[in-house]
């Protein structure tokens, strides 16, 4: 709380100092660029000016971020390539170039107004609080009695301190308020605009969708191959065995017991194969009992003690449940295989519309974060707009943290 006030005050003071500088920079460079615009010097000058302006804008973004306590994204497209003319044109067409400039101009009047209101209030309040320390140095003769007592006795001067302290919250409120208004204006101009944000989101969605389609195609291929080489082949084999038995029985009139029992064994194997496959596509217990129970079953089957902490998870969408299940299954399998851990903890929480799954083991760490198993899961999680992070320093512990939005 105190820190926020100090930060706000620092912001307003630095704005006061930086405002004139950025204003002069913006005006001068705009004039110079304008004058040079009909010469061959225009493109390089404009490129250099824009580069420096962006550097200042980056600083401003960071300053505002300190007050607003959130990161402010940069709105720029990648720095253009090509000859200076092409690059210059690209920068001119980018709205961010002009929005940066607008802020550099605006910082001067806004900084002045902010400092006038905020800094003055803060300084006056502080001065009132410390009145006993300095008021003696300002002689105030010829005052009416009560006012004279206030100004010219130690006890009276402490009344100012009390007053200053009483007004401190109001001053604090004003200073932080003014600073945050200023920082918000800065953020509004320096952040990506709504259109750019949508464009970015669209390209992000296009790329995750492409990855999902790829992942799905790969998954279907895997299932096809498993069915083809596994259950299907075994059923064909059973059919052949039965055909053979049929033929033997027709020729000899004797029931062919060996062949029939072989066929039955082959069918049993086909069924076992199918069960294994079904479990990999969607574990039956997840359908039956939901995520927490399915994970508890998974944990119970693990060869090391696994603790599960699950809050009220509501009923996440099937895709979310399934992703959370397979992330946990994969992480647990990795723990068993590589971590040499003695315990593992799975924590499931749901806050508003985000399901968080964290798998924490006390193993030796150093997991290969780019491994292929994890890559597939990452695609699956990203397809749901979720995030997955793995931290695994050498020496452990390994933590797999997944967040999945439930409102799709």
């Amino acid at each position: 709380m105190f820190h926020r006030g100090v930060r706000a005050l620092a912001y307003l003071l630095t704005s006061l100092v930086l405002g004139p500088a950025t204003f002069v920079w913006a005006v001068v460079t705009t004039l110079v660029s304008g004058v040079l615009s009909f010469t061959y010097l225009a493109p390089p000058t404009f490129l250099m000016v824009t580069w420096v302006t962006r550097w200042i804008a980056r600083l401003e973004r960071r300053r505002a971020a300190l007050v607003l306590r959130k990161t402010i994204e940069a709105p720029y497209s990648p720095w253009p390539a090509g000859n200076p003319w092409v690059r210059g044109r690209a920068l001119v067409r980018e709205p961010a170039t002009w929005r940066d400039l607008a802020w550099l101009l605006l910082l001067f009047p806004l900084g002045l107004a902010g400092a006038l209101s905020g800094v003055v209030v803060a300084v006056v309040d502080l001065a009132t609080i410390v009145a006993p320390v300095w008021l003696w140095s300002v002689p105030n003769p010829y005052l009416p009695p009560i006012v004279d007592w206030l100004f010219n006795t130690t006890g009276g001067r402490f009344v100012f301190t009390a007053l200053g302290l009483a007004l401190a919250p109001a001053a604090w409120w004003l200073v932080t308020g003014v600073a945050s208004v200023q920082a918000r204006v800065a953020a509004a101009l320096l952040e990506p605009g709504p259109r750019l944000r949508l464009a970015r989101r669209a390209s992000e969605l296009a790329s995750t969708r492409r990855r999902v389609v790829d992942a799905q195609a790969a998954e279907l291929r895997r299932i096809e191959r498993d069915l083809h080489d596994g259950a299907q082949a075994r059923i064909v084999a059973a059919g052949m065995t039965l055909a053979l038995a049929d033929r033997k029985m027709r020729l000899s009139g004797q029931p062919a017991r060996d062949d029939v029992s072989t066929a039955r064994r082959q069918l049993d194997e086909a069924l076992a194969e199918l069960r294994r496959l079904v479990r990999g596509i969607h574990p039956p217990i997840l359908t039956d009992r939901g995520l927490a129970a399915a994970l508890a079953a998974l944990a119970g089957d693990a060869p090391l003690p696994v603790e599960i902490h699950a809050g009220d998870l509501g009923e996440p969408a099937p895709a979310v449940e399934s992703a959370a299940y397979f992330v946990t299954a994969e992480a647990l399998a990795n723990t068993v295989k590589h971590a040499a851990a003695t315990t593992c903890t799975i924590t499931l929480t749901r806050e508003a519309d985000v399901l968080t799954v964290e798998i924490h083991d006390d193993g030796r760490g150093g997991a290969d974060v780019s491994g292929s198993g994890l890559d597939g899961l990452r695609r699956r999680v990203e397809a749901l707009d979720g995030t997955i992070t793995v931290t695994s320093p050498v020496g452990g512990p390994t933590i797999v943290h997944t967040e999945l939005p439930c409102a799709l």
Partner: protein
């Protein structure tokens, strides 16, 4: 014996009815949903109910839940759960009341006719029939257990069969062993796992399953 069947797939339901009637049993009712099962059991009071885990309308674990509800109302009602998949958790729930007369088998086991019929008899008589797959999951879970670790390979084999619910004579036949040596193996196992010696097969099975399931 008189049997009630709850299975939603017509093909499998008819197959079960045919196998059971061909082998001298009576099918009192063959139903497709969990509520119908509860009604049929209340009406016919069968010697055994054979129930699929996944039943309409939800296609989740309605069959299992209905079975547990029936056994809560009428303890020791013999029920054999048949399913396309086995889940150790479900086995634990069925065994939880410790009264026996339960079974949990994969549907595939029906094709091993003699063993399936034997399992039916066992459950109807108050015993237990656990699928080898359930037992495999239980063993996998206990692979670091101190007691299980001290067992010899042969004793583990015997323990697996005991856990499935087989009687001594059935174990003798399965492993081609003399009754005396099977008995010796079993008493060794019970001693190593620190379980009470019980003459009653059903009680012994329950103790072993409780140990593996703890």
């Amino acid at each position: 014996m008189r049997i009630v069947i709850a299975e939603d797939l017509l093909l499998l339901r008819d197959g079960l009815v045919r196998i059971l009637t061909d082998t001298g049993h009576t099918v009192a009712a063959a139903v497709a949903t969990a509520p119908e099962l509860e009604e049929a059991v209340a009406e016919h009071r069968p010697d055994l109910s054979i129930v699929d885990v996944r039943l309409p309308p939800g296609f989740r674990d309605e069959g299992l839940r209905a079975a547990l509800a029936i056994r809560r109302r009428e303890p020791k009602t013999p029920i054999l759960i048949l399913s396309q998949y086995v889940e150790r958790v479900y086995a634990a729930e069925l065994l939880a009341d410790g009264t026996g007369a339960v079974g949990y088998l994969l549907k595939d086991r029906v094709t091993a006719l003699d063993e399936f019929l034997d399992a039916i008899d066992r459950v109807a008589a108050g015993g237990t029939a656990m699928d080898p797959e359930v037992v495999r999951q239980l063993f996998a879970r206990n692979n670091r257990d101190q007691g299980v670790a001290t067992l010899t390979a042969r004793e583990r084999e015997v323990l697996g069969l005991v856990a499935q619910g087989l009687s001594n004579s059935a174990i003798c036949a399965e492993l081609v062993l003399a009754p005396a040596s099977v008995e010796k193996h079993i008493s060794n196992i019970l001693a190593k796992l620190d379980l009470p010696l019980a003459d009653d097969t059903h009680r012994r099975v329950r103790a072993v399953l409780a140990y593996l399931n703890h």
